[in-house]
Every structure is written in structure tokens, then in C-alpha cells.
């Protein structure tokens, strides 16, 4: 069963979002070890929407569905410019500390931790839609998530 809620585009929404994920995990009996990864992925994607979608006043919709062994999450952002999160560059984690910055780390991390992440943009409705999946299956070597992006789907 899918649970859906909308959240005002503000960092202050994070506690309510984390309550939303915790409730779904308890109700659907999803492996609690996945919860911090799901919270992390939602936080990174949601805060990106807050930071880079300042022109929009629309709330952000989050949908979550329990799937076999895990969860599928979709974030929908209205009245925004396209930003394909699957195409952001990887962070060079080998740089010396003087050259390290936090920029891009969130998207880099979630690509490492998730099973898959997909991006879709509708120019007609100016709507971004990001869907990701995470299951309990062990992922040796933590290969980067399968990604699929689209910047111009009408």
C-alpha cells in the first residue's frame, strides 16, 4: 500500500518527514536497518529541492510503498526547473582535506547506498519526479545505484 503526504519546502519539515518514514516502516514491518538510509536519501533529495527550488511555493509530495524486502520512495516537486540528480558528478573522495568541500556529497552518498534512482521531468507541468528503491539484499562492493534520467519528457 502506498502512503503519500505533502510537506512545506523548509528544513523545518524534516522531523515530520522522519515521523512519516518511521510510521510506514512500523506499519509495513520493513527491515528497520534500512530506515537511516531511507531517511538520508529523502533528506538529501528534499533539502536539494528546498535549496534549489526557491521559485516554487508548492509543497513537496512524498510517496512511500513497501516492496518485497524494502521500500520504494517517490518525491514530486512542482513548478520547478529540471535538475537531474542522476547526472550530478561524483565527488572525488581521495582529495586532501584542504581541497574537500561538502558540496555534492549528499547525492554522491545516496547513489552509493540505494539500489536504484530514477529522475523524470515534465516540461509541460514543470514537475520533477524522483523515484528510488532500497532493499535489504546485501550489495557486495556497494556498486553505484542504477540510474536513469530524463530532462525533457512532455
Amino acid at each position: 500500500m502506498t502512503s503519500a503526504r505533502t510537506f512545506p519546502r523548509s528544513f523545518d519539515s524534516l522531523p515530520a518527514i522522519f515521523d512519516f518514514t518511521a510510521d510506514l516502516f512500523a506499519r509495513e514491518r520493513i527491515d528497520p536497518q534500512l530506515l537511516p538510509v531511507i531517511d538520508l536519501a529523502i533528506e538529501e533529495l528534499f533539502t536539494n529541492m528546498v535549496k534549489y527550488g526557491k521559485g516554487s511555493k508548492a509543497d513537496v509530495q512524498i510517496e512511500m510503498t513497501g516492496i518485497e524486502g524494502g521500500v520504494e520512495v517517490t518525491l514530486i516537486d512542482h513548478d520547478v526547473e529540471p535538475f537531474d540528480v542522476t547526472k550530478s558528478p561524483d565527488v572525488d573522495i581521495g582529495l586532501p582535506i584542504e581541497e574537500r568541500t561538502p558540496g555534492g556529497l549528499g547525492l554522491h552518498l545516496i547513489r552509493k547506498l540505494l539500489d536504484s534512482i530514477e529522475y523524470d521531468y515534465s516540461r509541460e507541468s514543470r514537475r520533477s519526479r524522483i523515484t528510488f528503491r532500497k532493499t535489504s539484499a546485501e550489495r557486495p562492493g556497494a556498486a553505484t545505484a542504477g540510474t536513469r534520467g530524463s530532462n525533457a519528457r512532455d
Partner: protein, 97 residues
Amino acid sequence: MLAIDNGPPGVVVISGRLDAAQSPAAQSFLDKVDGTVTLDCSRLEYISSAGLGVLLKTQKRLLAGGGKLRLSGVSKHLRDIFGYSGFDQLFEIEPAE
């Protein structure tokens, strides 16, 4: 929620969730520490990139002054995050028992 406070000498204890909403409070506390500091993470449940930014900024400042930030009591989940971020090369990390 997040709590951060001084522990035994040279130790800062952090607990709860270090997310984008809580990071400014953590940064403001860590901006006041000096020398070599151990951050006891044994009750830190969660960290996001905003929290990693707080640790990175603090480590850069302390290293410039001849000190450093050490991380102790680090859970497997946090170790994964630090590993994927390359932070295991920037910090001395002591795993949780």
C-alpha cells in the same frame, strides 16, 4: 532531536540525529572547541551530508591550529557513511564495541 555537550576532558558527546535542521546548533557548539577533541558518537543515530559538513569544517579548523577531531563509538551504519564519503581518510575513527 540532537544533543551535544562536553563530556570528560577532551571529549564532546553527541547524540540523536545530525541532520540539516540540527546542523547549525552542532556547528555553533563545535566552533568553540580547540585542540584535540574526541567526538563520542556512540549515541549518534543518524548523520546526513549537512552533518558531514559540520565535521569537515571543524576538522579543517582544528588541524590548522595543530589539533584534530577524532570520532569514537562509531556504529556500522555511520562507518559506511564515513567510508563512502572518504571521511575515513580524514578522521581517526574508533568503531563502537
